[in-house]
């Protein structure tokens, strides 16, 4: 049964929301989610790569020989990752500095390659775009959610976007007397926090 474009899009938002349902692409999920801003930025960067590599793969899928398709997908994805790197440096340099090594790592994010192989290489252009967009936004939301929890408890802030002059978001959410739970923004907190959120998802899913 063919799904409508809307369904292709929305499935990525909850049904197949990548980091939680499939437990894939965890490195950036854990690595960059110290603030909401980083989460959103990383998510959008990944979405960008997802959508454009899906577009290219869906249009080239009949030309690429199946034996080297993975290699070709990797080249295509890597190209868009470098594009993202360059564009981020040009237009969102602070974010680029914060995300650091995780931007090139989009190349090896299994979600991207997984979608390329499992979806874009078998579907037409439009569904592939919808799929890429859906999965990407789902990924972004996951990162933002995790970032929100970690930033809230770990730094007592909720930063949505930083411009050179101002910060959009709420600072000192619990007031100045709150001693931030720094564990949360550090490495161990990332694991524990994701584990507990996964547990929450399971609880909700089981109902």
């Amino acid at each position: 049964m063919a799904k409508t474009l809307t369904q292709e899009f929305t499935k990525g938002l909850w049904e197949e929301i990548a980091p939680f349902r499939l437990v894939l692409g965890l490195c950036p999920v854990l690595g960059v989610t110290t603030t909401i801003e980083n989460g959103i930025g990383m998510g959008l960067a990944t979405t960008f790569v997802l959508v454009f590599s899906n577009i290219l793969i869906a249009s080239l899928r009949n030309i690429i020989p199946s034996k080297v398709r993975i290699a070709c997908f990797i080249i295509i994805i890597a190209t868009f990752v470098v594009v993202t790197e360059l564009l981020m440096q040009a237009f969102a340099y602070t974010l680029f500095l914060k995300l650091g090594v995780f931007i090139p790592l989009i190349v090896v994010n299994c979600i991207v390659l997984g979608r390329a192989e499992a979806f874009a290489s078998k579907n037409d252009l439009l569904p592939s775009i919808a799929d890429g967009l859906g999965i990407g936004i789902g990924f972004t939301l996951s990162l933002a959610a995790l970032g929100a929890v970690r930033e809230l408890f770990g730094a007592n802030n909720l930063t949505i976007w930083t411009t050179p002059n101002s910060v959009i978001g709420i600072q000192e959410v619990f007031g100045t007397n709150f001693e931030p739970f720094t564990f949360m923004v550090q490495a161990p907190g990332a694991f524990v926090c994701l584990g507990l959120m996964l547990c929450l998802m399971n609880l909700m899913g089981s109902k």
Binding site: P65, V68, I76, T79, L86, Q89, A90, Y93, T94, L97
Partner: protein, 197 residues
């Protein structure tokens, strides 16, 4: 065999295409990226040492050749007059090079301000050099021609307690800045004149 050939050709063409695309994009964005890098890496330091400046020093910049190296200089205008030049150099610290930005007033060859740009020192000690304005403000008003040394070594600069090596690195960087300034001074004043036109 045909299969293999097609595989190689497809791979090659695809990577060549990607190379083309990327180099094109790179060329298109290179200028902007440079500005961004300067703005975010050097920008804060420059802004701090050039307080009260009337222009955008990042935009008003020029390069000069110093032997094999190309050095970047930023121009500061005070009261509409371009009389200050910012230059950078580095000294060897505890965990790598410590970068130092020094602004020099070309009218009287004195230091207008100094700021640490990059460092990889131990957090809390050496890193104070960047965060601690008291340390770098010691340089303010000193003549650039001086040899900068910490008090322990018989100089005037008070070292940050517990971070002597970093302090020395900053001093060394400042001294080096002086020598570069002296060497390139004629060209620098030429350039400044252009900005005053």
């Amino acid at each position: 065999m045909r299969d293999l050939l097609i595989m190689v050709v497809v791979l090659t063409v695809l990577s060549a295409f990607s190379g083309g695309l990327l180099s094109g994009l790179r060329n298109a964005t290179a200028a902007r990226i440079e500005v961004q890098q300067l703005k975010f890496v050097k920008g804060p330091a420059i802004k701090k040492i050039l307080q009260g400046v009337s222009n955008d020093p990042i935009a008003d910049r020029f390069s000069l050749k110093d032997g094999d190296m190309v050095r970047k200089f930023f121009v500061g205008k005070f009261d509409g007059k371009a009389n200050t030049v910012v230059l950078e150099s580095s000294g060897k610290g505890y965990g790598g090079d410590v970068g130092l930005m020094v602004a020099v007033n070309m009218d009287d060859d004195t230091i207008v301000g100094a700021g640490v740009t990059t460092h990889s020192e131990t957090p809390g000690l050496g890193a104070m050099a960047k965060d601690n304005p008291a340390f770098v403000s010691q340089f303010k008003g000193l003549p650039i021609a001086e040899m900068f040394k910490v008090t322990n070594d018989g100089g005037k600069v008070n070292a940050m307690s517990g971070a002597t090596i970093t302090s020395r690195a900053v001093c060394a960087a400042a001294t080096q800045t002086g020598s570069i300034y002296q060497k390139l001074k004629p060209q620098l004043s030429e350039k400044l004149k252009e900005f005053n036109k």
